[in-house]
Amino acid sequence: MISRRQFIKLTSSTAGLLVSGCQTKLIKSTSAHVVVIGGGFGGATAAKTIKKLDPSIRVTLIEPKSHYVTCPGSNWVLAGFKSLKSLAVSYQQLSKKYDIKLIHDKVTFINPDKRSVTLSTGNTINYDRLIVSPGIDFRWDAIDGHNQSSTDLIPHAWKAGVQTEILNNQLQNMPDGGKVIICAPPNPFRCPPGPYERASLIAHYLKRYKPKSKIIILDAKTQFSKQSLFMEGWRKHYGFGSSNSLIEWHSIPDNPVVKIDIKNKRVETDFGDIFNADVLNYIPAQKAAHIAQSSGLCNDSGWCPVNHKTSESTLYQNIHVIGDASIQSPIPKSAFAANAEAKVCAFAVISLLKEIDMIDPVWINTCYSLITADQGISVAMVYKLNPQGKITKVKGAGGITPNSKEETLSLEANYAKQWLPNIIGDSFT
């Protein structure tokens, strides 16, 4: 008598033999070299997953910074729930535990023909397959009077770290009765619920310490992620909709912010409307990071088109693009998504290197946001490939927080807080 588990193991391994017997290609043992550019959630997860699935593959991770500060959780710093320090992750454990070669340098050039990358030191590294996970850059050309050099005065805080600190200090130093303006970017952009979680948590801080203040969101969009849940939370906790609401949302897609007076923290819209701020958080429109642009991995949209099954660039062979820089819509640009895309990419890269069939991929994305310290909301989805090979939402799956009962939102907040260390662990350790 064999147990059910043994039986399944027996049948699956025997069936595996039967299947592999039909294959003409032998499974290659590989000493291939995979190079990963970018040590965010996408790059770190890709490097780790490849080594976990096949330790014989050599993996090199190239990332300029010695530490990564996670964007998830960085809004929580503004409400005082987290210290910025607690969001910093080192690459040492990842490198040691999985035998990943770590190079703290910047890639200046990708040569798809020679399959090599050039570092700022001038050194060249060859790859069999390259995974590019460089994140985002900003479209400074969309705005007059403000650019990279003035972000110490007008922080975007859309890459966590120093920028988060600048925004936090400005909020701390703002007098009661001050005005915070958040300029939310047009689609597509990193972390769709991010600007609205940020508004919630700044409101949480202001309500307690500077209750006469106000947050104005100037939005390039007509709607936003988890809008109904956010607005319900704002109504309940921050007087949204009343005359003394802590948060106002102005949707101005036809009258966008076009000019910033840095010195006076003043924004001007296309029709000449003026908004004065004490703290101005301008989050620019976005595109794939510089290395993706300069290497020709982007199309006219400014993002990188990829084969959805393998995440291999449709413009260059042997180069995969994952995370925020890649076009994997309807999957949003999030840390969770980058982690999911990295895993699918790792399965794909190994299949391609070994010349074996790739199993069908699946992606899960869940975006948690906090409204207060103990009230949270989420949106989730499961994605699979449709018969045309495009990523598609699975019908009937996913959706937003099922109801707005206090106990549900309290559980969601708890899960949000548990989720963060887990995804960091899953990606970086």
Binding site: I8, S12, A15, A340, F347, I364, P402
Partner: protein, 92 residues
């Protein structure tokens, strides 16, 4: 003996989809780790003592007989066979 061997072969042929399901169990499991971590530490440990128990829990989430904030939404993205496969992989 011969009869039972033939039976086994027939069974293998009909259950050979298990090998695909078993592999996809791994892919799905990797997706689970994003929230639950490699050791599934934030799951009621009594659920992951057996594949059967985990499978039944996942199916109960899928059919809404077990209420939750998030798992009802996630499990609906998978076929019953996929939930079985991931339950087997995660409890192996």
């Amino acid at each position: 003996m011969k009869k039972s061997f033939i039976k086994l072969i027939i069974l293998l042929l009909f259950t050979s989809s298990n090998s695909i399901a078993d592999v996809s169990g791994k892919v799905i499991a990797y997706a689970c780790y994003s929230c639950h971590g490699k050791n599934l530490t934030n799951i009621d440990q009594s659920i992951i003592v057996s594949a059967e128990k985990l499978e039944n829990t996942l199916l109960a989430f899928k059919s809404n007989t077990k209420p939750s904030t998030i798992m009802n939404r996630i499990t609906k993205g998978f076929s019953d066979a996929e939930l079985k496969a991931v339950a087997i992989y995660l409890t192996d």
